[in-house]
Symmetry: C2
């Protein structure tokens, strides 16, 4: 059992995006540079989060990614499911039905007890992940992390975020 390596990158990127101002965006290339990752590959995960409704993407110059909703309403479970897919970790193959002794299908109406137990464990895992909001991660970072690290992160966000340009707003008003 191993989680995809991209989950770590996705959460870090989401936490970084939580620091940008409302409506502002940050290009994927900047996020990739922050963690020394392949830009093209990171796009894959950012795209997955966009498809899942966790992020929003705006194309064109001065475009990039931003959170689709407030950090308080984004949980780690949302990010993990977006990257890994919604399927549970344990997939019951119903091997109890296959084998030397064949029984009619009516003998297997009750669900497999092993599957139930494994799904119960995964449910607990998801519950903890759902309770961990992105805002908690950011708050914990601000409080506990080294001040130098916090300052560097804030400087990075300030450096690379692309605020919603006023001109585009003007154009919308003009229309």
């Amino acid at each position: 059992m191993k989680l995809s390596e991209g989950v770590e990158a996705a959460i870090h990127c989401a936490a970084t995006l939580a620091g940008v101002e409302d409506g502002a965006t940050m290009p994927g290339s900047a996020l990739a540079a922050q963690f020394d990752l392949s830009p093209s590959y990171l796009l894959k995960h950012l795209n997955a989060m966009t498809a899942a409704g966790v992020l929003e993407s705006v194309p064109g110059p001065a475009g990039g990614y931003r959170l689709a909703r407030a950090p308080e309403r984004i949980s780690l479970l949302d990010i993990v499911l977006a990257v890994e897919g919604p399927q549970p970790a344990f997939r019951c193959g119903e091997i109890r039905q296959r084998g030397s002794v064949k029984l009619p299908a009516s003998a297997y109406v009750k669900p497999c007890g092993i599957n139930v137990a494994m799904l119960r464990a995964e449910k607990a895992w998801r519950a903890v992940l759902a309770s961990e909001k992105l805002s908690d991660i950011v708050a914990g970072f601000m409080n506990d992390a080294d001040p130098r690290s916090v300052a560097a992160a804030c400087a990075f966000v300030e450096r690379y975020q692309r605020p919603q340009k006023s001109s585009s707003l003007k154009r919308q008003e003009r229309k």
Copy 2:
């Protein structure tokens, strides 16, 4: 995130082995036939459980596998860790340290908050798995499953289990 497919087979085999009498064994080929699996491949997982101390194996004719201890003292977590390995699902690659802005190592003495959160979730997962004993699985199967299925399973165990031969005991006494 996906669990190995062998986990399901391993748990089913362990549950079957819980039905054999004390000291008796069941060959891996019989377990493979019960679930229509490749015998050679199933051996891999049974071997892993043996290495982890969950099962015991006896070689030679009339040999096979048996539980290393009572079903009440074997949890699903033991089996999962034996097959999947003890490493946690989320491995923090410390990507926060890599990137464009380099800080001295003294800035990263505190653990990564994301890693802490993910490990906390996995801890809950493991706690549920540790509380699910193999005896509970067997008891649930006996109570809830279809009577035909229970009868078939009992018949299978009775059919293929190899009791500790009296001759070997005699030989031990003789020595």
